[in-house]
């Protein structure tokens, strides 16, 4: 049951230049994507830097205006600020930011940070509010004495957990997690990922999990979208993507994962070289002359890939997979 649907979303940023900052051209940050989100599921969004992942996330929570396309929440458009307000949309969709540190107001204490959404939507007394904040801290495994500390007194992982506590304060249905762990060390990353999973189970949350680390995405997500140049190049379940990647870009991504397997070092090296070659050889099947990604074609119940046509698909299946 999708409660959130995104239809043909496009976000184009003007490139301004010159003295007057007039619009010279557009960055096609997001250029026509469809996405639907069910309750309690995690959706992965992977792609290279600058492919438009954050932009999608921001548009969903309402920080960016779509250039065209629709965002439907329970069937109703929430493109405008007013509509979002009316539907209580902002309560339901929250975000965890890529740059943890900058997403916490350095001048506010933890209690004020976590209580901010509560103050906006719920009329709690000071006492109730503090209790609630403590509960939230508890959920993300932070000690109670964090309450009156400032963000800079915490480690990266702890900060990220504060961000999570804030995001879940209003019991949202969806959290857009924009690279929540890519700035963190391994051990801390594990911590945060564990909490995200735990909370999901408890609150039946959905995540839109943005990352470029395929290992992490694999660990977290049920359904994965691969993004390139503002469009989806492949979408499917975890198994679809990892076991049967079709699109050359996906394949390249997977090949680039540094595996912890010292003995087969050479083998991986060869694979990378091979995929690289493939990428160069077959790109015309996956990108048109302008380098634009083709539309998605369904190849199984859950698996979609952006390819020129069915014929090309066969060609690819025979030659590569």
């Amino acid at each position: 049951m999708s409660f959130l649907e995104i239809k043909d979303l496009k976000v184009h940023y003007p490139i301004r230049g010159g003295f007057f900052h007039t619009i010279q051209d557009y960055t096609y940050a997001v250029d026509g994507v469809d996405l639907s989100i069910d309750e309690g599921k995690t959706y992965g969004l992977i792609g290279e830097s600058g492919s438009g992942k954050t932009t999608i996330g921001k548009t969903i929570v309402g920080l960016e205006k779509p250039t065209s396309g629709k965002i439907l929440y329970n069937g109703q458009t929430v493109n405008s600020k007013r509509a979002r307000k009316k539907l209580g949309y902002n309560k339901e969709v929250q975000m965890i930011f890529q740059d943890v540190f900058s997403s916490l107001d350095p001048r506010k204490k933890v209690i004020d940070i976590i209580a901010e959404p509560l103050r906006n939507y719920e009329n709690l007394t000071k006492e109730e509010e503090r209790k609630k904040v403590l509960e939230l801290l508890n959920i993300v495994g932070m000690p109670g004495d964090s309450l009156y500390k400032y963000p800079h007194e915490f480690s990266g992982g702890q900060r990220q957990r504060i961000g999570i506590a804030r995001a879940i304060a209003l019991n949202p249905k969806l959290i857009v997690a924009d690279e929540p762990v890519s700035a963190l060390d391994l051990s801390v990353q594990a911590q945060v990922l564990n909490y995200l999973k735990k909370i999901q189970k408890e609150f039946n949350l959905s995540y839109l999990f943005i990352s470029h680390d395929l290992g992490v995405v694999k660990h977290m997500c049920d359904y994965i979208y691969i993004m390139h140049r503002g469009r989806f190049v492949e979408a499917g379940t975890r198994e679809d993507i990892y076991n049967n990647p079709i699109h050359i870009y996906t394949r390249r991504l997977i090949a680039a994962i540094p595996e912890i397997d010292v003995k087969n070092k050479e083998k991986y090296y060869m694979i990378r070289k091979k995929v690289e070659e493939e990428y160069n050889n077959y790109s015309s099947l996956f990108y048109d002359e302008d380098g634009k990604v083709f539309d998605l074609i369904q190849i199984s119940d859950t698996h979609y890939v952006a390819i020129k046509d069915k014929e090309a698909l066969k060609n690819v299946e025979n030659n590569i997979a």
Binding site: G17, G18, F19, F20, Q24
Partner: protein
């Protein structure tokens, strides 16, 4: 780039236009008129009345404004100075040349003083030299311009007789000859030094901070890691980057000097624009006031344009297309 410069220049027109209205209205709001100063017992009041009539001062103010602006636009005629009995353009032209020369020399001296001071203070920050520079900075900040000017004039002009005490050039020299040029320089040097000493304050401070800042930049580390000799690291990597904001302020520095010229010119009896401005105000020499204000406004606009252009030239990150 030329196109944008042209556009910027065009944008000046409405700004100057509004400025012209404001300054005209203000001029008229000042009590008295250019002929108030003629009042003596010998003077026939009818003559003053006649002069007022001839000058159009008895017309309604909007009509006066219209006449003035039309004459400027149609004939390029900025009117005549009542006091100096000559076309304003000619009068201001001479004075402006004086002020601009003085400003130019001041700028050169300012940079000659400020840059080494700022650089050494920044490079060896915390050293005795740095502290001395800071003290110098404060003292020159607190000393009003005219006190410094008078002190220098009394000492170098009258006591030591190293420099002339009045005027801009010696008598009987042909413009264009070397002697003429040297004489001008001789007359300008003390006022320019005075101005420069005061002008260095901001620059020294700024440069020092910039250099301290630049020292910790990653690219400086890169340069060091390349084995670039320390002095070269400073000259090639730190200075240039630190000078950037100062270069950007160059345009403003010039206009700032024009604005501050009145004190220096008054003390050194140096006939320039600033001094002309103040005396024009006290004699209500409208056409001079108006034209000077427009000129100042224009130069300020030009200064900021110049700053922008310099900025784009020295900083490749900013592009004008």
């Amino acid at each position: 780039m030329w196109k944008t410069i042209l556009r910027r220049v065009l944008l000046m027109i409405p700004q100057l236009f509004i400025l012209s209205i404001i300054v005209f209205a203000l001029g008229k709001a000042m009590p008295g008129d250019p002929f108030t100063g003629l009042i003596t017992p010998d003077m026939d009041p009818a003559v003053i009345e006649r002069l007022r009539e001839e000058a159009g001062l008895n017309d309604p103010i909007p009509v006066q404004y219209k006449n003035w602006i039309v004459r400027i636009l149609r004939d390029g005629d900025f009117g005549r100075s009542y006091t100096y009995k000559m076309p304003v353009t000619k009068l201001i032209g001479k004075r402006a040349a004086n002020t601009l020369w003085l400003s130019l020399l001041t700028v050169i001296l300012t940079y000659l003083i400020a840059i080494p001071l700022g650089i050494y203070a920044g490079r060896y920050n915390g050293s005795k030299f740095d502290k001395a520079v800071m003290v110098y900075n404060f003292i020159s900040y607190a000393i009003p311009r005219f006190i410094l000017g008078l002190l220098l004039l009394l000492f170098f002009g009258y006591r030591l007789k190293w420099v002339p005490t009045t005027g801009s050039v010696d008598l009987g020299l042909e413009p264009g000859t070397l002697d003429y040029f040297l004489s001008r320089l001789h007359h300008m040097i003390l006022p320019a030094i005075t101005s420069a000493i005061l002008g260095t304050i901001g620059i020294v401070q700024y440069l020092r901070n910039e250099i301290i800042d630049a020292k910790t930049q990653d690219y400086v580390k890169t340069a060091r890691s390349k084995g670039v000799p320390t002095n070269k690291v400073y000259t090639h990597h730190i200075f240039r980057n630190s000078l950037l904001p100062i270069a950007a302020f160059f345009g403003f520095t010039i206009t700032g000097l024009l604005g501050g010229s009145v004190f220096i010119e008054t003390i050194f009896t140096y006939p320039g624009m600033g001094e002309l401005f103040v005396s024009a105000i006290s004699s209500r020499d409208y056409s001079v006031i108006n034209s000077l204000v427009l000129l100042f406004g224009f130069l300020t606009l030009l200064g900021s344009l110049l700053s922008d252009i310099i900025m784009t030239i020295v900083d490749p990150r900013i592009r004008i297309e």
